[in-house]
Symmetry: C2
């Protein structure tokens, strides 16, 4: 099969060497080679192929196909791991690696809408590791790793309770006589709802429930509950379990609901690393764990990577398609041009690439920051940076998810009608990205958490205290001085806007408090200002940090090609953020029309500089065709052939005449209905 000639031409004319970029992007030659070898091994395995596009299957068929394929995949992945590393040491890090294989590019290429066994490794086993005692780990961990009679998941969210975890209703009452816990979901709204794999797959799960001993409440604890018979898989007595149904995305996950009615478990199935219930019912509160919301922070840090991954998948598809697709001549009586030659199309696509790449720089920094904080905590450092990490991870996760989701949608729209087809795969990518808006901290709730931190820091700044680095700009009250560096001007203007937005939120809150409402109500009434402050902070941080990371990377030695294109991308990201936030920027800074026009013409200049390298750049992300999963985005650019081929595969097209013609259309045409 030949490569589309427009794509060939683009590749030949690019100044960027995409293999050079790919090496940097993958983190080195061996990382790139290993990933490619893995992809080769799994993507060319005929036993892992899909005969029908999942979007054509019924929900039930999709579940069954996903279970079949994912069990095969897991078996093959274990085989690969045994070859690579015969001695296995079960640890948090191993689980993380496994999670990255399952949910990262490799797993995505096989399961565009994920699969039900993922939660077993990502949430069930990590919770066993972090909350189980040594004895509990000895009893369960090895079995869990080998899935020896155990398929797990983690059940927290309830039908009526998500964000406000303290409001969960599921309860576990300790029965000292039988030394058992009795679990109940006493109301409709207390049914567990959402856990992945819970519907029809998991048989032994961790349930978060309110602990009661002799009528006394001891907060939320985790319990290991068998819900399905190990051999027959039948739901056990008192267990009401099923799948919650189709969703915007992630339809392979088998998210489930669960009602419990007097389900009894032995005492040693409460996870007791941090708190214990003794045989007689005595409750012992242990030391709180080092990183109380450790998993949440970890997941938020990782989410930044996940959403930029989705954004760049979408950008790759849109870029290649926009070269192959020809539409409307620019000059009269000339042939139609590649859509990417229209400046309006460049403005839809290139800033998304710039955003994804800049997020990647920030995500790498954030990961290192996270590891630094873990070290501080392990060293019992009381002046650790956990509050700063927490505040940053909240607003960066929220804003990045929001921007990436909007970016994926913008890229989808840039592909016109074809972008709307499931075979283009934007809908799956959008669905997974959009889910991150809510999970592990809902957007607005996260922003309010960051805002509380910002307000505290702002009050500290008034007291002339030293502030953590990411918010030190809150002490800098100097006005914008327009310098020669447009990027620096933009970042500074975004910081001033953030500072002023924080100040305004604080003033609004204080004004309300003076009018005698409670502090909580005042904070509710200032909600719009508070969330705006957190968003402004995130934008200021993203741009500042991306520029700093670029400088740092350049010092570590980048190839000339990579350094140059990264420079253009980060600058475009900074200018784009500035222009998109111009409402807030102009409100809080004095910027002239001439200065704005400078920013705009530099912005357009960057578009035209990046344009010739657009294809080479997305080639450099080195997404395997299977990872993109798109008829529009394949490396060979044979868009129309693939659209037709996918349509022809549709089971609806396998018979020339559908049965409903005889049963309904013909009688209707004969007036017999």
């Amino acid at each position: 099969m030949s490569v589309n000639c427009d794509l060939q031409r683009e590749r030949a004319a690019a100044s960027l060497d995409s293999e050079d970029f790919a090496l940097w992007w993958a983190g080195g030659a061996s990382e790139l080679a290993e990933r490619r070898a893995l992809e080769h091994r799994f993507y060319e395995d005929p036993e892992l192929e899909e005969s029908v596009h999942p979007s054509c299957l019924s929900y039930k068929e999709r579940y069954e196909q996903t279970v079949a394929r994912s069990t095969r995949f897991l078996a093959k992945l274990r085989q690969w791991q045994r070859e690579k590393q015969p001695q296995l040491n079960l640890s948090v890090n191993l689980l993380r690696d496994f999670r990255l294989l399952l949910s990262g590019p490799l797993g995505t290429g096989l399961f565009q809408q994920s699969f039900p066994l993922r939660l077993h490794f990502s949430m069930f086993m990590t919770t066993l590791l972090s909350q189980g005692t040594e004895e509990q780990q000895a009893q369960w961990l090895n079995r869990a790793w080998h899935m020896d009679g155990v398929i797990g998941t983690y059940a927290q969210t309830e039908l009526g309770h998500g964000t406000f975890v303290r409001g969960l209703e599921t309860r576990a009452d300790y029965d000292p006589e039988r030394q058992e816990f009795v679990l109940n979901t006493p109301t409709q709204s207390s049914y567990k709802w959402w856990p992945g794999g819970l519907g029809n797959t998991a048989n032994l799960i961790i349930v978060l429930a309110q602990l009661y001993v002799k009528g006394k409440h001891h907060g939320l604890q985790s319990f290991l509950v068998r819900i399905r018979d190990e051999r027959t898989h039948e739901p056990l007595p008192g267990v009401d379990v099923g799948d919650i149904g189709p969703r915007m995305g992630g339809n392979g996950v088998n998210n489930g609901f669960l009602g419990l009615r007097d389900v009894r478990i032995p005492r040693n199935q409460m996870l007791m690393k941090n708190a214990q219930v003794l045989e007689d019912g005595t409750f012992v509160q242990g030391r709180p764990p080092l990183l109380l919301y450790g998993t949440m922070v970890y997941v938020r840090v990782i989410t930044l990577r996940d959403v930029l991954f989705g954004l760049l998948q979408a950008a790759t598809i849109a870029t290649r398609y926009s070269v192959v697709r020809r539409q409307s001549p620019i000059e009269e009586n000339q042939p139609e041009v590649s859509v990417l030659d229209h400046i309006t199309q460049q403005a839809k696509i290139l800033p998304q690439i710039a955003r994804g790449v800049s997020y990647r720089l920030v995500a790498d920094w954030l990961w290192r920051f996270y590891e630094r904080v873990l070290q501080q905590l392990e060293a019992n450092n009381p002046r650790n940076s956990l509050p700063e990490l927490h505040a940053l991870s909240c607003c960066l996760k929220a804003v990045a998810t929001d921007e990436a989701t909007e970016g994926v949608d913008r890229l989808r729209k840039s592909c016109g009608g074809h972008g709307y087809l499931s075979s283009a795969n934007f809908d799956s990518i959008h669905g997974l990205t959009a889910a991150a808006y809510t999970y592990e901290g809902e957007y607005t709730v996260l922003l309010l958490q960051t805002a509380r931190f910002l307000i505290r820091q702002y009050v500290d700044s008034l007291k002339r205290k030293v502030l953590p680095p990411s918010v030190s700009y809150l002490r800098d009250t100097a006005r914008l001085v327009w310098s020669k560096s447009l990027s620096a001007n933009c970042v500074r203007a975004l910081e001033i806007a953030a500072l002023e937005q924080v100040r305004q939120a604080w003033q609004t809150q204080s004004t309300h408090q003076r009018s005698k409402v409670s502090a909580q109500m005042a904070s509710n009434l200032a909600g719009r200002q508070l969330t705006a402050a957190a968003v402004a902070h995130a934008h200021a941080f993203f741009t500042r940090n991306a520029l700093e990371e670029l400088e740092r990377l350049r010092k570590t030695g980048l190839s000339k090609g990579v350094s140059s294109v990264l420079g253009e991308l980060v600058e475009l990201f900074v200018l784009d953020t500035f222009l998109r936030q111009s409402g807030s920027v102009l409100r809080w800074n004095s910027i002239t029309g001439t200065q704005l026009r400078f920013v705009e013409s530099r912005y357009e200049e960057l578009l035209s500089q990046l344009r010739p390298n657009a294809v080479a750049l997305v080639d450099g992300f080195d997404f395997h065709d299977r990872v993109l999963g798109s008829t529009l985005g394949c490396h060979d650019g044979r868009v129309y052939e693939r659209l037709m081929a996918e349509a022809r595969r549709n089971p609806l097209n396998q018979e020339p005449v559908n049965a409903s013609f005889h049963s309904h259309l013909l009688p209707m045409m004969r007036g017999k209905l």
Copy 2:
């Protein structure tokens, strides 16, 4: 079944009488009564019910169920129409009424993702009417109306050609010897692609193709082509037809592809009202039709209604759910409050209601304007307002679709995780709204058309010519004078921003032209400014027109309750637009921080004024539960019961143990995979 108590409380406390609002919204008592009677008749008909939620079906099953239900629906609708109006006069207006029944609330309630027979009435029959000669109409129209052996659709778009219609490749060559046209899709990219109902349903369609007579090209003409045998439904020789596959929305439409290879039709199957091919091949160009792009303009005018309908469906669901859903206390140690009590939630929902209602006012005005222009054209008035109507309909359709799609998504997100479920129905609503971004004129292409008009008008204004009313502000170069009326200030600021944006686009274009690129290339290079100008114009027009329409309506007599809530909604819409466009507004106006704070506090005051009437207001849109199609949005607010009930209906939940347990999970757990 009782009504959720929080909803009851809201309804009891509202000052707005929702029935009063419903009367106005429906356009009068008889309109409201007729719609309700229709809904009663069709929605309570057990033969039209769905036993399984369509999102659980395979694509093929969904098609079959849709055909079965839609043929039943059509038969019943005809029956109703015969009862109502025994003497039928086939006309454009009747077809429009029929289209409104099929695609409006009634049809939406039955087919959330539409159905394949819709295009027969909306596009096939209207094209026969507008492009067929009298003889052709006599031959086909009656048969088409009764679907007597005829199921039609209209095929224009091709796999490789959409926006640039002149680029279509399908060709029809006249063979004078046999007096036939020979139709061909000579390339892969010329396959027809997208027409609704084409896949497996239609048998006689209208095909747009390049006409060639003796090798000479005579532009695009329409041809009536039989593609499937009337009795067997088998594709005819030379016809390659099928369904293009699943999409983000509208999955009931049976969009199809079509390849033609030497398919012959008799000469009288070219639609010859506007141009003829005589027996010997002589081509006769008739008078161009009055309204060359009439259908396009009509559809754009109607699209404004469609997208505000979707936006308000979503807003109704989100409002009711936000009252029922309780999350996070505001005051410490108090129960969790209705989410709608959080000001951040009000700011997500209420402005969308305001937007939908304001669009409705503008849509009504636009419809009257459309009818006025039709009259001008019929009277052969050379100074007709067609260019103004065209320019307005382009940018209003583009901007309203974009804002409504974003609004639906924002409302979905305001419902947290549950909004993500298909049973909440946001995904269907979003899919249908999002489709309008592309169909009947792609967003950016439409904006560029409006921009060309704006530039012409701006140049005219420099020559001191009189401008059409909707752009007369382009002549008003006075600066913003901040008055007591915040709405007036906001509209004026938006107009100034639009004017300046038009001026800047014109300057950019002129500058490029002076640097010796062609006018076309200059226009491409100014693309970002041109589209920004059209968007700014749309915002200025929407806000100005909504305020004017409100004034006019008040003069015609509105009840006090309706007048008051409309006043709040339109003002909120104007302020919201101003704040959302603040980047452009602040760039082109001098507005102080104090003035902005005034706008913001009035904005928040409006949120709190509207809050107590939120439920009564959405009740007043009088969407039937079937039209909302949502577990979260029903009138009785029994959200959790409905979520559970819908989950339990899922075919995957009908067996306690899925077959894949035995075939895959158990072997995996025993290490046998």
